[in-house]
């Protein structure tokens, strides 16, 4: 049996975020109560200039609310929002240096693609010729020049998405905000468009905040990810760190997949105890023959997942899941399972990381 690699390969981050110096976005003590409930709870976030940060979290955790406060559609109850060192929280959406891409694109159906993109420039009192120039440039950037005179309803969802992006980019915003920009696209297109967005964002060096509930999307696009839960940021770090060193049990469960077992790990053996063990399925290694640190295990269920299989195992001490590549295993099959790495959580927080014999 071979060892499976971690499923989500984080991209090599190009620009290692430096210290937040003036540029970018700084949020301090953001607070919002809606309908009598605290939706955003004293939230701090700083995004460096040119950095792409994802707000990632389960449905209802307050991602959209946060983004709408940054964009200026919603007034915070408390807190400050600074864009490139300038306080913006007292400004209306029309006066903020940010541009937003809406989840359902919000293209104006009565205007052509070119008119949609040109509208922000028209408001800035540019000449017709200049507007036309800029619209064409940005349409070329999103490769949609051929749809210049189409109405939004006539083009596909992916193309609408790119028009919405172009309409934001043409404003040359200091801050680009995207609310689940890919959720209306099919799986394949989503991968392509997120690469497009990332490429354009890096080319133009725009500070960007993306809201998503798709961890794979966040992992593959972002310089850093802020994992949100119930109106707070649980952890704010690079995709690699988030996966390898989750600070809380919530993050460990939310990012990737995890075996959650009550107990503690001693010499590869789980003994009953008060803590919570988090074991990544890829850290459960299967061996055909007895192996030092591995315990006999029975395969109970096998779920093929395409290029790997998810194997449900019963060991004497616990039930475990493992990701395995290679030939399909059979229920009932005997094998030897080794726990190579485990995280220990106490009161929801990471207290120890144990790497068994490597």
């Amino acid at each position: 049996m071979t060892i499976h690699e971690p499923l989500t390969e984080p991209p090599a981050s190009t620009t290692e975020p430096g210290a937040a110096a003036g540029g970018g976005l700084t949020i301090r003590g953001l607070h919002k109560i809606l309908g009598g409930r605290t939706i955003i709870d004293n939230l701090d976030l700083s995004v460096n200039e040119g950095e792409l940060v994802s707000l990632l979290g389960p449905s209802g955790c307050g991602k959209t609310t946060t983004l709408r406060m940054i964009a200026g559609f919603l007034e915070p109850d408390a807190g400050s929002i600074e864009v490139e060192g300038q306080e913006v929280s007292h400004l209306g959406a029309e006066n903020r240096p940010s541009a937003m891409v809406f989840q359902n694109y919000a293209l104006w159906p009565h205007m052509t693609v070119a008119k949609n993109i040109g509208f922000p420039l028209k408001l800035r009192k540019m000449s017709k010729a200049e507007i036309n120039d800029r619209v064409e440039t940005v349409l070329e950037l999103v490769s949609l020049l051929h749809h210049k005179d189409s109405k939004p309803a006539r083009i596909s969802g992916g193309e609408q998405q790119r028009v919405a992006l172009a309409r934001a980019l043409v404003q040359e915003p200091k801050l680009l905000l995207l609310d689940e920009p890919l959720s209306n696209l099919d799986a394949k297109l989503r991968v392509k468009v997120r690469e497009d967005i990332r490429k354009i964002q890096q080319e133009l060096g725009i500070t960007t905040v993306i809201v998503t509930h798709d961890q794979e999307e966040a992992m593959s696009m972002s310089d850093r990810i802020a994992v949100m839960n119930a109106g707070r940021i649980e952890q704010y770090s690079t995709p690699e760190a988030l996966y390898a060193r989750p600070e809380t049990e919530f993050v460990a469960t939310f990012i990737g997949s995890m075996n959650r077992v009550e107990g503690s790990l001693n010499n590869g053996l789980i003994s009953a105890g008060g803590d919570i063990l988090g074991i990544r399925p890829e850290d459960v290694i299967l061996h055909d023959v007895p192996f030092d640190g591995a315990l006999p295990a029975t395969v109970e269920r096998v779920v093929p997942r395409g290029h790997f299989q998810e194997v449900y195992l019963r060991r004497a001490d616990a039930q475990l899941r493992s990701f395995v590549t290679g030939e399909l295993m059979q229920p009932g099959q005997q094998t030897y399972a080794e726990i190579r790495k485990a995280m220990t959580f106490r009161d929801g927080r990471l207290v120890a990381e144990s790497g068994a014999a490597r």
Binding site: A71, G72, F73, G92, A93, E94, N95, S98, A99, M100, F102, N104, Y105, A106, L107, W108, P109, H110, F119, P120, L123, R124, K151, P152, A153, R154, Q160, R167, Q171
Partner: protein, 289 residues
């Protein structure tokens, strides 16, 4: 070069579906429906059309005994009728304009703001139309006497506008409410002031609904007879009020001619609106939210 023939397409394309009993019944029903439509909707119109050009028409004959343009001459040469046409074409557009100026802001407020008494206002608008009109007009006339509004343009205008308030408020309110907030927010985000957002996004998107309301108001004003007669006659006769005296004083052919004239603006307006609304952006617009 080899010619490849597909043996399957030949016979297949020649086979016809046999006429089943089911499909015969269905087409018989369709024919029946069409005939009924023609008899009950087009029939009276056709009769009107023939009537307007008829000389003598003895009873059992399907067509008139002779044809003439005399009745058209009567109508066109009659000074009073010409004035009535002018009056109608003056009051109807003016009514639409005034009604729009008064009602559209209200419609927008109903659609976008939640203020105390909002529901009450909306319902009471309907209530004005629920009463028998004549009762309302008689009360109004009493008031108009006191205010010296009888036989004045303003008086007639008030009557006409009152008749359009429901259309001009309810339909545009629904149209405004149907404009997705997102689209307005996107415009604000692009840098537009609130006024600009309204002019560039909200209004154009609600326009089809507003046009429907305007057309209905125009027709309502154009057809308004009771109140106009009460408040305006005899100083201001419009086409429908003139109809009353025509029916009493002239042969029926003149009334037929007049009916056709009265219908022309309505039909033209309906066709134009129909084309604009169904063929235009409305159908497209609702594909994206």
């Amino acid at each position: 070069m080899a010619i490849i023939t597909d043996s399957r397409t030949g016979p297949a394309s020649r086979t016809r579906r046999p006429l089943t009993l089911d499909s015969m019944v269905r087409s018989a029903l369709v024919v029946l429906f069409v005939v009924l439509m023609v008899v009950f909707i087009l029939g009276p119109l056709l009769w009107l059309g023939v009537r307007a050009f008829a000389g003598n028409w003895t009873f059992p004959n399907l067509l008139p005994d002779d044809w003439t343009l005399r009745w058209w001459q009567v109508v066109i040469n009659d000074g009073a009728l010409g004035v009535a046409v002018q009056n109608s074409l003056f009051f109807a557009p003016l009514t639409v304009l005034v009604s729009a100026i008064i009602c559209l802001p209200a419609a927008y407020a109903f659609a976008r703001f939640d203020f105390p008494g909002r529901r009450f206002f909306l319902i009471s608008l309907f209530a004005t139309n629920a009463f028998p009109k004549m009762g309302l007009f008689v009360t109004l006339a009493a008031l108009f006497y006191a205010l010296n509004l009888m036989n004045t343009v303003l008086g007639i205008l008030v009557v006409h506008v009152l008749g359009t308030v429901v259309f001009m408020t309810w339909i545009p309110a629904a149209a405004f409410a149907a404009v997705p907030r997102n689209l307005e927010e996107a415009a604000r985000d692009a840098g537009a002031s609130k006024l600009r957002v309204f002019a560039s996004v909200t209004l154009p998107m609600a326009l089809p609904g507003i046009i429907v309301a305007a057309v209905m108001s125009f027709l309502a004003s154009f057809d308004e007879a009771q109140g106009t007669y009460l408040v305006g006659a005899p100083a201001f006769m419009t086409m429908p009020t003139q109809m009353y005296s025509l029916v009493l004083n002239y042969p029926t052919q003149v009334a037929a001619v007049f009916s056709i004239l009265l219908a022309i603006p309505s039909v033209a307006l309906m066709l134009a609106a129909h084309k604009h609304i169904l063929g235009g952006q409305l159908a497209e617009g609702f594909q994206i939210k």
